[in-house]
Symmetry: C2
Subunit: 137 residues, 2 copies
DNA sequence: AAGCAAAGTTAGCCTTGGCTAAACCCTGAA
DNA sequence: TTCAGGGTTTAGCCAAGGCTAACTTTGCTT
């Protein structure tokens, strides 16, 4: 019945839109780092398979990551993160792991925890993430 | 080190993209219902103010909601939900309230709970939502 | 009843992030 | 050494969801 303050409410939705603008980049650098750690190389085809998109879409997205200084521009070579990309990947992975651990502690099954974490992780304030980390123990 | 199964991982990202496709509609019908409940009418200019966008953007989005049978098409008149729109609004509000109650119980401040809930709410499986509801008590 | 201000709509533009199809590079096997 | 196939990029398309600017409608005030 009682509506929030208009400006306050607007700030919430603006925050959601900001999160959505950076989340593709976060997920890309995180996966590139994981592939490099596990296999030594990260290939465009692997990203396409694991994101569920075409290689053309991956190429498009990678062009933006290169433009934004997160991925090295080396055509036809294995993908490689810049220092900024590596930093973003580490932060994303740490946050992702906290969210999964939290959901498991909440009693959610592993499959659903991994599923929901992939979207949830981009909408957490520092305060909420800290509370989740504390709860997960 | 150990990577998830590629198909499983792809299904997670596909789910996130599906959630993002429906979330604008869910937030619109929820806010329209709230405005109607609190004021009797929902105007385009109110939506624009509370979403933090221009009235032109609201008009664009409303065209999609009308196309999809969620909002009545009555140019220059107060906004009005269809039966389908009302049902979606009620489900969205119920879920939103569970998420806020859960975050508060977790120990997060009210301001941050309301902030994070707006994005979080669209990435919760039934299992996770049930766990949150149980935890919120 | 007229006029004006606020509300709503329309036109035209942009970026993101999807797609298909086709061209391009690279490499290992013949 | 060639060349076929796999991986990568490019070209061209699309919808969602933002924007500004201009136009139309409504409704209130005088
Ligand atoms: Mn993610
Ligand atoms: Mn992630
Ligand atoms: Mn929301
Ligand atoms: Mn989201």
């Amino acid at each position: 019945m009682t509506l929030p303050d208009p400006g306050e409410q607007a700030r919430r939705f603006i925050k959601v839109r900001e999160a959505h603008r950076s989340e593709v980049q976060q997920d890309y650098v995180e996966l590139i780092a994981d592939l490099v750690a596990a296999r030594g190389v990260a290939r465009v085809v692997d990203l396409a398979e694991r994101f569920g998109v075409t290689t053309a879409t991956v190429a498009n997205t990678l062009a933006r990551l290169k433009r934004d200084g997160l991925v090295e521009d080396r055509p036809y070579r294995s993908l490689c993160l810049t220092a900024a990309g590596t930093a973003m990947a580490e932060a994303s992975r740490a946050r992702h792991d906290i969210v999964v651990a939290f959901l498991l502690r909440l009693g959610v099954s592993r499959a659903v925890a991994e599923l929901d974490a992939e979207g949830l992780e981009h909408h957490l304030s520092a305060e909420t993430l800290a509370a989740m980390e504390g709860f997960a123990g």
